[in-house]
């Protein structure tokens, strides 16, 4: 059988099998099985990069088989330029997450690694599903492993953080379920075909336009909570801070992207008229910009390194939302690049926070100082990653933010002006923290005996840093793969509203 036919099935099924293997084998093998499994998973997903056809915006590698056929529920999977990198980001992050947990997780290892593997399937399912029922099931299923990861292996306030995370997501997603069912019925009634298939619903979505605002609202709430868009972000700092390192990495790197992905895949193409409604635009862009500035300002005053990173996520995701709502080819490409690079940079920052914590059992920024002398490698890695998070040219952070800003400028000039100051705020909080942790005087004797990065930790960080520079210096291969799908999306959104083709920034 050729690769295109089996790869998506394999990507979803393999982690589940591996999870069973983890549970059946002795405890000491658990982490190794998980590592090997996630590595294989990554290797299986890598050829997607080459096999992906950049000339078409259609779904590729499609799989379809009946599940609850009488109800029009089919197990449909597919991949396009928007989901390709989400999938690759997931498979890339998971082995690192497993490797990063080797020392941190000491109890109930089998359950922990089993849950990580189940989580992998859940996340990939969200990005691959082309049937709204399947999408919803994966969207919810993935809550359980994350709930346990936070609740069982988390920090001191883990119970509170876990239930808050669960409830916030649950509220949004249940309303989304009602919206999905409503669309299903109205489209079914109008066309005679009752099906949850994405394209079937998409091409007949206009029959629900009368309730477009409310249906869109249900999707919006579900995704905005997940992103998280200000003011729905309050679960995020708690969850991020309390989760174990790998949990934070996955939360920031992948889970938040599900919200963005939901906007790109469902909310925007389904209800372009509502998306571009002037009031909705004003509100969302305002919230995105508030998120950028507010996230940055709050990050500035955080004494806790992990919390600082968590709030910086709010700011980064604000850029993504701005790019999505500008809905030009460039801004959308930028948004997707930020989604990728935020996963890499913030993931790396959480890993580093975890490594610092493992050494000193504190995350207080003030407890560190002058680490450059003691642990030069760790300091260098932290510097690179922090700079990429700020968006220094030559790193991945710059490309995404730059594209979003120039892509959005013709549409929302004022928002872009304010958002651009967010980059300066980012520099302020990140550099302040960097200076305090790495460069100040080595005034705390506890820091003197710190060990530098081990080989295992290097193995976690080096791939991330390599990607930081790759995207920063030569993003063309990424953009090429994203472009066709985003152009298509822009057409869907803008085409519905304005008769003339909307072209901003011209061709590259």
């Amino acid at each position: 059988m050729n690769y295109e036919a089996w790869v998506l099935d394999a990507l979803l099924a393999f982690p589940l099998l591996a999870a069973v293997a983890v549970l059946l084998r002795p405890v000491r093998e658990a982490k190794w099985i998980a590592l090997v499994a996630t590595l294989i998973e990554f290797l299986v997903s890598v050829p997607l990069w080459w096999k992906f056809d950049v000339t078409t915006a259609a779904m590729q590698f499609q799989v379809a088989r009946p599940w609850i056929a009488g109800w029009g529920v089919w197990f449909r999977l597919g991949l396009d330029g928007i989901s390709l990198f989400m999938v690759l980001l997931t498979t890339f992050t998971m082995p690192l997450a497993v490797l990063g947990s080797f020392n941190y997780i000491r109890e109930k290892e089998r359950a922990y690694y089993g849950l990580l593997l189940v989580l992998t399937t859940g996340m990939l399912g969200v990005f691959l599903a082309l049937d709204l029922f399947v999408f919803y099931v994966f969207w919810e299923i993935m809550l359980i492993p994350m709930y346990f990861l936070i609740g069982v292996w988390g920090g001191p306030r883990r119970l509170y953080a876990a239930i808050k995370f669960f409830l916030f997501t649950f509220v949004g997603s249940l309303l989304m379920l009602v919206a999905i069912l409503t669309i299903y019925y109205y489209v079914g009634r109008a066309t005679g075909t009752y099906s949850f298939e994405y394209y079937h619903l998409l091409s007949n979505i206009q029959v629900t336009d009368r309730w477009g605002f409310w249906l869109f609202g249900a999707f919006f709430l579900a995704f905005a909570i997940k992103v998280p868009l200000f003011p729905f972000h309050t679960w995020l700092p708690d969850a991020h801070v309390e989760a174990p390192t790998a949990g934070s990495v996955i939360l920031a790197g992948i889970l938040l992207k599900m919200g963005c992905y939901g906007f790109l895949r469902f909310a925007l193409p389904f209800y372009p008229n509502v998306v571009l409604d002037p009031t909705v635009v004003t509100v969302v862009v305002l919230l995105a910009v508030i998120g950028i500035i507010y996230g940055g300002l709050v990050a500035m005053v955080q004494p806790d390194f992990k919390k600082l990173v968590a709030y910086s996520s709010v700011a980064h995701l604000g850029f993504v939302m701005l790019g999505i709502w500008a809905a030009t080819v460039q801004s959308l490409e930028g948004a997707i690049i930020i989604m990728i690079s935020h996963g890499i940079s913030t993931g790396a920052l959480f890993f580093l926070a975890g490594m610092l914590y493992e050494r000193r059992h504190t995350r207080e920024i003030a407890a560190f100082g002058g680490l450059a002398k003691v642990v030069p490698l760790l300091a260098a890695a932290l510097t690179i990653v922090a700079l990429s998070s700020i968006g220094l040219p030559g790193t991945n952070g710059f490309i995404g933010e730059f594209l979003v800003l120039i892509g959005s400028f013709p549409i929302y000039p004022w928002a872009v002006v304010v958002a651009a100051t967010g980059v300066i705020v980012a520099a302020m909080y990140m550099l302040r923290a960097l200076q305090r942790v790495i460069y100040n005087k080595l005034d705390n004797p506890d820091n003197e005996g710190m060990l530098d990065l081990s080989r295992r930790e290097l193995a976690v960080l080096v791939p991330l840093i390599a990607l930081i520079f790759w995207i920063g210096v030569y993003p063309a291969p990424f953009l090429r793969r994203i472009e066709t799908s985003t152009s298509m999306l822009v057409e869907q959104v803008r085409g519905a509203q304005a008769p003339e083709h909307f072209e901003v920034g011209g061709q590259r």
Partner: protein, 503 residues
């Protein structure tokens, strides 16, 4: 003749009643047996096993009817012959069977020696079968009384417990009150249609355009009040927490699952088959009942610390979900009910089985905190409890989700979008009390190392718990066949025989 049964002939009626006759005959046989042997726990166990056999036998007869597609040759005079009845019967029989299996270990542990216990369960089940299958208001009422009287006694079966006695008395008084309402409703409906046969009532109301008739509407309101009591809809729910709390735990499970399912089955049959013409009017009333029941049931459950009481209130919330299916006023809603009732029976019995395993002396003092760290000592039990909790919550991957999805579909299809929103809103509230149970078991440390030492699940109960958990998961992933069957069952409630009454 078979499988088309002529209900006009006495022989036809006898064939149509075969499932009920088998169970009644078996129960009478056991009654004689109990008169002989009632002195030791072994006698009691013997009766229990025999009761289980009787239930399985009856289920086999029902399955034969179902597979053969037995149906009525003409008007369904006394008893209906449709797949709604067969599926409903199977749900009651399953609920009763699970209750019997759980009771055998439980009665021994709690030192309750009353072999009649199992007889009463069988009689109650016979009553339920008449409720779900009756094609005449009188038959349904008789079924309801047979069931209720048996369950009144069951609620008070532990004569040494004052709470048990309180529960029984409360249940009896309020239940009698509710029966009176129902009977008055039946009388009014009869008064204005001249018949108690469901099919004929439908024909009369359609032909004479009685949907505006005030007295008929008052009759319908009375019926709704009567059913509302039995399904524990707010504001007729006051008896539920005390009765559920005081009764022996397997009986609580039986009441929460099977008794409620029977009341709903009767409600669907009467409302759709007889009063379908007036749906516009009564769906509005049920709409409000459903909304209030969901909100109140879930909010009050949130405030409970006692596990058994929490499940009692949560069962009120679930009654609200089922009322949402009623409020859709369609056969699709009836299909949703069949599926949900099946799933709900399984998960409720499973959850109560674990409550029974973890508690002592009627489980009145078992709090959520008492499950802290259960996963350390009894990992499989904790895992099963998690499945039940997630299924009750309606989480994907479990049968509870499919059921909720079914009900939501029915609501959306009937353009009750707002009610669907209330349903999901209250589901979020319910996460506030189901999740802490999961949290306690898996995320909190046990109070001491040996605190769960006494949590012991004996032979049969262990199988019951394992089987229910597995069925919930399997049904959550492959619900196709069960959903199709439920849909067929719902469609059978459409008034099939069009009778025109000459003016």
């Amino acid at each position: 003749m078979w499988p088309v049964i002529d209900l006009g002939m006495p022989g036809g009626i006898a064939v149509a009643l075969l499932p009920e006759l088998v169970l009644t005959g078996w129960a009478l046989f056991l009654t004689i047996l109990v008169a002989w042997r009632h002195r030791s726990n072994d006698d009691q166990l013997l009766v229990g096993y025999l009761a289980a056999v009787g239930l399985v036998l009856t289920a086999a007869v029902v399955v034969v009817f179902w597979l053969a597609g037995a149906r009525a040759g003409g008007l369904e005079t006394m008893i209906a012959l449709d797949s709604f009845r067969y599926i409903a019967d199977l749900i009651f029989l399953l609920g009763a069977l699970l209750a019997v299996l759980l009771s055998m270990g439980y009665l021994g542990r709690e030192r309750i020696l009353v072999p009649e216990y199992f007889l009463l369960l069988l009689y109650a089940t016979v009553g339920m079968m008449f409720m779900g299958g009756g094609a005449d208001l009188i038959v349904i009422f008789l079924g309801l009384e047979v069931m209720s009287v048996s369950v009144y006694v069951l609620a008070g079966i532990d004569r040494r417990s004052v709470f048990c006695a309180e529960a029984a008395l409360k249940y009896f008084l309020l239940g009698a009150f509710a029966s009176a309402f129902l009977l008055y409703g039946i009388a009014l409906v009869y008064g204005f249609t001249g018949t108690t046969n469901l099919g004929l009532i439908y024909a009369q109301t359609t032909t004479w355009a009685l949907q505006e008739n005030t007295i008929l509407l008052v009759g319908i309101a009375m019926l709704l009040v009567g059913f509302g009591f039995k399904v524990a809809a707010v504001p007729f729910h006051m008896w539920t927490p005390d009765v559920y709390d005081g009764a022996p735990t397997p009986i609580t499970a039986f009441m929460a699952a099977a008794v409620k399912a029977a009341a709903f089955a009767a409600m669907f049959r009467v409302m759709l088959e007889a009063l379908g013409t007036t749906a516009v009017v009564w769906t509005e009333a049920v709409w409000w009942l459903a909304a209030i029941t969901m909100v109140v049931g879930n909010l009050v459950a949130l405030a409970q610390r006692n596990l058994k009481r929490m499940l009692a209130y949560s069962s009120i919330g679930h009654a609200g979900y089922l009322l949402t299916a009623v409020a859709s006023g369609t056969d699709f809603g009836a299909a949703a009910f069949l599926f949900y009732a099946f799933a709900y029976t399984i998960m409720t019995v499973g959850a109560f089985a674990i409550v029974a395993a973890a508690g002592r002396r009627g489980e009145r003092d078992l709090r959520v905190e008492d499950l802290n760290g259960l996963s350390k000592r009894r990992p499989w039990l904790a895992l099963a409890m998690m499945v039940f909790m997630l299924s009750l919550l309606g989480f994907p991957g479990t049968a509870g989700f499919i059921g909720k999805w079914f009900i939501l579909s029915a609501a959306v299809e009937a353009q009750n979008g707002l009610l669907a929103v209330v349903l999901v809103g209250t589901t979020v509230i319910s996460a506030g009390y189901y999740l802490p149970v999961v949290m306690a078991m898996f995320m909190k440390p046990p109070a001491s190392d040996d605190v769960h030492e006494h949590v012991r699940v004996t032979g049969i109960a262990r199988w019951v718990i394992a089987a229910t958990a597995v069925v919930l998961l399997v049904l959550g992933v492959w619900p196709g066949r069960a959903m199709d069957a439920a849909e067929q069952g719902g469609q059978d409630l459409r008034p099939s025989v069009m009778i025109t009454v000459s003016r």
